[in-house]
Symmetry: C2
Subunit: 434 residues, 2 copies
């Protein structure tokens, strides 16, 4: 087998077979294929695509570059959720305790934020003491004890993905359906799950802004999950505006607590319970997703989900005082209210720019090395279709970096389009695929 021949085959838009994909992924992971050849392959794969079978084999090869966690000692359904991410998307933090409270196991391996979107790990680490770097034996023990666990990718999990993702990031080969599929599914399958609910975002704050791209990705993820005999449901959901009102690491924990206590409803609440409902259905706790939704909602109203959240925070060494008394969390040094300055209806939100404003305030990372300001962020109030007065407060911003206030304010004002005509509210759940 010859790497140049394999690159040439994909360059000429021919499908690669099992042996070729094995050669490619195993030798790249072992550093026997240099980056410059693998990046030529990535660009060829980006431009010529990979079919369903290739994508499944790619996923398997990436998965088997590391270990698949053995959860057989834990009796009961293990179901996870994966979201393609967006601005203000904190559903993982809500879903994990809700589903665990309802009796299924939710083993979650999450990522960090980069660019305009936040990351579940960063949000969790805004809770003083919270440990996301558990090893696999602690991962199993926390999961067994409380029904959920939230950690970062360990070195044993799909090492090929870590290497490939870093190379894709610097070679403009990120936005490729088969490569994204391999990356997501290899990590999720490594968790040792029985089923998976997918939340593929679409709109201005999503990774894939175009609906058809999101649909294509959802279909590819479903086919790949099924080729591994996993139960799967995918939702294509709206990211044309931030999910919930809070953006920024601690601010999102704060909103999570309010949701879990049943103090606020809205899109974030609805979506979290919808995804939880599907997970409970896949886990055999409900006869369908609607019944699952109701069961999930009971976990909120009964206080069981909130208790479960406190439990997992405690097991992962987080200071639960801040969960119980979030008002005691140290404030950011600077805050400012943003006034609309214009009357009309909110017609459109450039959610990407809202994410970038949060980044500017210190809530995110421009490069992997940047340090995050846990208390920085935005509370963004209006939804598309809302009536706005000239003196309406559209957002509040929080930061420890005074110099960022003005540019963040400008970004937010530029990101909201206020028009005289009334606009229809976007549909939260666009499509359900099984």
């Amino acid at each position: 087998m010859n790497i140049v021949e394999i690159i040439r085959k994909k360059r000429d838009a021919n499908p690669l077979n099992e042996e070729e994909l094995h050669y490619l992924i195993s030798n790249y992971t072992n550093k026997k294929i240099p980056d410059y050849q693998f990046s030529a392959f990535l660009m060829a794969a980006y431009l010529n695509g990979m079919n369903e079978e290739e994508t499944s084999i790619l996923t398997r090869e990436m998965l088997h570059s590391g270990i698949v966690v053995d959860l057989s000692a834990i009796k009961g359904p293990k179901i996870d959720k994966h979201s393609t991410g967006g601005v203000g998307d904190k559903t993982s933090l809500i879903i994990a305790p809700v589903c665990a409270a309802a009796g299924i196991y939710v083993p979650m391996i999450s990522g960090r934020g980069l660019g305009h979107t936040g990351g579940t790990l960063d949000k969790l680490e805004s809770i003083p003491g919270f440990r996301t770097d558990l090893n696999l034996s602690m991962y199993k023990s926390v999961l067994k004890k409380c029904g959920t666990v939230l950690i970062g990718q360990t070195k044993e999990i799909a090492p090929a993905d870590k290497l490939i993702y870093a190379l894709r990031d610097v070679t403009a080969t990120v936005e490729s359906i088969p490569l994204i599929t391999g990356s997501i599914m290899s990590k999720k399958l490594a968790e040792g799950i029985d089923g998976l609910v997918l939340d593929v975002k679409t709109g201005s704050g999503a990774f894939m802004k175009d609906y058809n791209d999101s649909l294509e990705l959802a279909e590819s993820l479903i086919k790949t999950a099924k080729s591994f005999n996993k139960k799967v449901i995918a939702y294509i959901t709206d990211m044309s505006q931030p999910l919930g009102n809070y953006i920024g690491n601690w601010l999102e924990i704060f909103e999570t607590i309010k949701i879990l206590k049943g103090e606020i409803k809205g899109d974030l609440y609805t979506l979290s319970l919808t995804l939880s409902g599907a997970m409970l259905y896949l886990g055999g706790k409900a006869k369908d997703s609607d019944e699952g939704y109701k069961l999930a909602e009971q976990m909120i109203t009964s206080g069981k989900a909130y208790d479960k959240f406190v439990e997992v925070v405690k097991l992962q060494k987080g200071n639960t005082d801040f969960i119980k008394y979030p008002e005691n969390y140290p404030n950011a040094a600077y805050r400012k209210k943003i006034i609309a300055g214009k009357e009309g209806y909110l017609n459109k939100t450039d959610t990407y720019e809202i994410g970038m404003a949060a980044l500017e305030l210190g809530a995110g990372r421009k490069t992997k090395e940047d340090k995050i300001d846990m208390s920085a962020g935005i509370i963004f109030y209006p939804s598309i279709g809302d009536n706005i007065k000239k003196d309406s407060i559209i957002a509040e911003i929080f930061t420890n970096k005074k110099s960022s206030l003005l540019s963040a304010e400008n970004k937010i004002l530029k990101a909201v389009e206020i028009t005289s005509g009334k606009t229809r509210k976007p549909k939260l759940i666009k499509t359900i695929l099984k």
Copy 2:
């Protein structure tokens, strides 16, 4: 400017502008862009192409990665020829003395053989003592003295090409019209020439086997040459069989001497004089290419071309005794006559395989590090359309590696297709483009 943005632009099939191509080539040459990013760009350029303007800018950037030789001190037209290469193609060795004898300057910077094709430098170095590694001041002085000079690419000439070519070779991005154009033209323009005759080969022994690919390359080369205000003519010529009868380094020098002495005619003779004629026309020594052909032929019949060859060999430190008495050249240890074994007409020659047989015998390199056996090679007798008897000698093979005799013989026998029906002789010159 950002390298990932530039890769993304080409990935999305958008043309790159001057600033972007400058950034790309200059930073790659200075090692500020790593191989893995440049190879992603190469694959995107391979698959999405580059337009005429981009190709011209690419060529200029590659050219200006090094120096353009200043030949202004040499008064007179400077015209070169470039061939895309093939099996038995030794026209450069004939053309240089023919044109120099007729009064134009022919500054030739050539390459080495790799794979199935030979290289002008290797052939010249089969003459004991011959130096192809002249520095640029010696290059100018030999050119001024005798009207021609034949050297290899120096480190000052298009260093970007050397780096890019090495990367293309290992990333399956060689066969790309704009990338080939940039590679050829940047080196040729660096010679300091006024005009260029191009010989683009087509057929089983050519780099581009398909006629339409050869045509596309010829057109791209012509457009690029014109964008630099160079006089240019391109010929698309036959490489469905070896050019001339001798293949292998010293064997090709031997045939060159015979041609220059007017002792043999045939396709090699015709093509060499045709290309020379076009060069003499571009150099203003003839009113058209036909008159140029006649002038070139006079250089043979008068003995002036042969004398010029002896002169340049002497100036470049080659032992002219072997030119004057080629029969004294040391023979290969082993030789063998190949018998047809079948009666009929030569219908087809797999010229690539003939080239590979020569390589097998020691005349070429499988990798850049291989050492060449100067006396190894093939004399291949029949032309397509020739009548072959069962006991006809179709080839003689020469080698110092006894073990290669059998496999070379098998390759040659497999490469010739002898059929009962008479086949039309292929046209030597397919197309002329200006």
